[in-house]
């Protein structure tokens, strides 16, 4: 029982982690809580579904297709709704703009598909293996593998490539990066693209795992992923992974051992407790403020 729940928690947690990465990367660079991120995740799930059902594509191709679509969507949103505000307004107006985009995108999907839940067809043949007393589905293994692969890939990209270096520079000091000849706008655009692609991957996998997608799925998932990013220390990439996994695992344990009716409150309760003890999150760095 315990190990099975742990595995369920890890599966859910890895999807939160994938969404949380987008929040934390964008926040690290432009200090914006990108509220539309949950909707990008939802679009990813829908595009994946569309590619599988209408175009009859293989799930792997559909996953990549959804990631590419959301990359473009993320860049478009940044270009239209955030870039015009950058530099000349308070962060709060950018936040409201993000909320506007979020409302726009979820309503758009309601208009296209209707507000109801759509089922994913059975795409992958699910085998269940039993190891000792623990049963593991092949789907869980695939999700965990893909999520790990994406996160490792992200780390390699950020540590080893030139654009990764530019992203790290921008998150340290955006003005200095600009003076060093880094094309800041391009870096920000790229960050949105990567974050959105990861969220899309999370969306497709959650859609397949729970066999359901609906237009408002982004709201709660987005809030929880944001909670995960803050829990890990917002701006920190390993922090987002740890935060996502922690919240996913504890949520599943809470449902299994306490009560399922408080499911949605668990993530936030953990978050508040952690922040009261450690205000900067698990891996966040305390900023020294100067006047």
């Amino acid at each position: 029982m315990f190990w099975e729940q742990l595995l369920n928690g890890l599966t859910l947690g890895s999807s939160y982690a994938l969404i949380a990465l987008g929040y934390t990367m964008v926040y690290g660079i432009i200090q914006l809580i990108n509220f539309a991120h949950g909707e990008i995740y939802m679009f990813g799930a829908f595009v994946g579904l569309l590619l599988v059902t209408v175009f009859g594509l293989n799930i792997v191709v559909a996953l990549i297709g959804a990631m590419i679509f959301c990359m473009l969507l993320g860049m478009l949103v940044e270009r239209i709704a955030y870039r015009p505000l950058r530099g000349k307004s308070s962060r709060l107006s950018a936040l409201i703009s993000a909320i506007g985009v979020s409302i726009f995108l979820s309503t758009l999907m309601v208009l296209i598909r209707g507000p109801n839940t759509t089922r994913y067809p059975e795409i992958i043949k699910i085998n269940t293996y039993t190891i000792g007393s623990v049963s593991v589905s092949s789907l869980q293994i695939i999700i965990l593998l893909v999520a790990t692969l994406l996160m490792v890939g992200l780390q390699v990209m950020i540590r080893k490539t030139q654009i990764g270096k530019a992203m790290r520079a921008c998150s340290q000091d955006i003005e200095a990066s600009y003076l060093m000849g880094i094309s800041v706008n391009r870096v920000i655009s790229f960050t949105f693209a990567i974050g959105s692609a990861l969220a899309a991957a999370g969306g497709v996998m959650v859609g397949v795992y729970y066999n359901a997608v609906w237009p408002y799925m982004g709201l709660m998932a987005g809030l929880k992923a944001f909670a995960a990013a803050v829990l890990g220390g917002i701006g920190s990439i390993p922090g987002a992974m740890i935060g996502g996994i922690t919240i996913g695992v504890l949520e599943i344990f809470g449902v299994a051992y306490l009560s399922s009716s408080y499911k949605d409150a668990i993530a936030f309760a953990i978050l508040i407790l952690v922040l009261i003890i450690r205000p900067q999150g698990i891996l966040g760095q305390k900023k020294i403020k100067k006047v």
């Binding site: 709704a81 709060l92 506007g100």
Partner: protein, 291 residues
């Protein structure tokens, strides 16, 4: 008497909108004190509203209390919660605080979803519709007056100072702890009052009325109107209550336009419509003209 007079000349539909505008003004002024004036980003204002609404409704329904005392009790209860939420803010800043307030709002919503006395997911119904146009607008006028007085006083100026620069404010001898907790308590009190009014106007409340989007709606009013400005909050409440009504012509596209409207307004008026306009500035301007 005024009710009878008004209902003869004014369409019931417009009267209803006016009452809702009044309630929203109270909500916006409360949040304006926390976020606009003191600069503490709070995204769980609907949570305070629901506490006021449920407390007042339970008192009138189950305990047979008259409307007035129940309304005050609801507001006080919300104020008490505001006080407790205010305490963690002493350690948290910016987006960490935003996350805690989102978490608080969600926890309260989930709590009411499981609250026996509050009717769980169905909510409460059958409250006598004691809230009238007159009660709401008399309260609105009193609150605007007191709010303007508060902002002009030492306390108000201290709150503005905290928003501008917390460390500098502290260095000039302002008790920032006290001010922030005060802002949260008063803001929550007003939200509770608005909640009680809302419950006894609609005659029906449910946890979903006070979800995350409601908090966002109130935040939109404050930011759109202009942070820290009383006329701004009033205008913001006015526009964002009327806009969805006006957009009824476009029917199902309503929220689509609403989302787009937020983005466009923020791009063209990044500091809100009446950013930094204060009531006593306006008064001063008029006085100068007289001389």
């Amino acid at each position: 008497m005024v009710e009878g007079f008004l209902s003869q000349f004014v369409d019931a539909y417009y009267l209803r909108i006016m009452v809702i505008i009044g309630i929203n003004i109270i909500l916006a002024l409360g949040l304006n004190l926390i976020t606009g004036v003191t600069g503490q980003l709070s995204m769980g204002h609907a949570g305070f509203m629901s506490i006021g609404a449920y407390t007042a409704a339970i008192l009138t329904l189950q305990f047979g209390l008259p409307f007035g005392p129940a309304l005050v009790a609801g507001a006080c209860m919300a104020g008490l919660f505001g006080f407790f939420i205010g305490i963690p803010t002493l350690r948290l800043e910016g987006d960490y605080l935003a996350m805690v307030t989102i978490g608080f709002g969600e926890i309260i919503r989930v709590f009411f979803l499981n609250f026996e006395l509050g009717g769980k997911a169905t909510g409460l119904y059958g409250m006598t519709k004691s809230t009238t146009f007159t009660t709401v607008w008399i309260l609105v006028i009193i609150i605007i007056f007191l709010n303007a007085k508060l902002l002009k006083s030492r306390y108000g100026r201290a709150m503005y100072a905290i928003r501008e620069d917390e460390i500098a404010a502290e260095a000039t001898g302002i008790n920032t702890t006290l001010m922030k907790v005060l802002a949260f308590t008063v803001g929550a009190f007003l939200a509770g009052l608005a909640g009680g009014l809302y419950a006894h106007y609609m005659g029906y409340i449910a946890p979903k009325d006070f979800a995350f989007m409601k908090s966002i709606e109130i935040l939109n009013m404050v930011v759109l109107g202009g942070m820290g400005s009383i006329p701004g909050s009033i205008l913001g409440a006015f526009i964002l209550t009327i806009a969805p009504e006006m957009l009824r012509i476009v029917d199902e596209y309503r929220l689509l336009f609403y989302g787009a409207l937020l983005v466009i307004l923020m791009i063209f008026r990044p500091n809100g419509l009446l950013g930094n306009v204060r009531i006593y500035d306006i008064k001063k301007r008029f006085k100068k003209k007289e001389v």
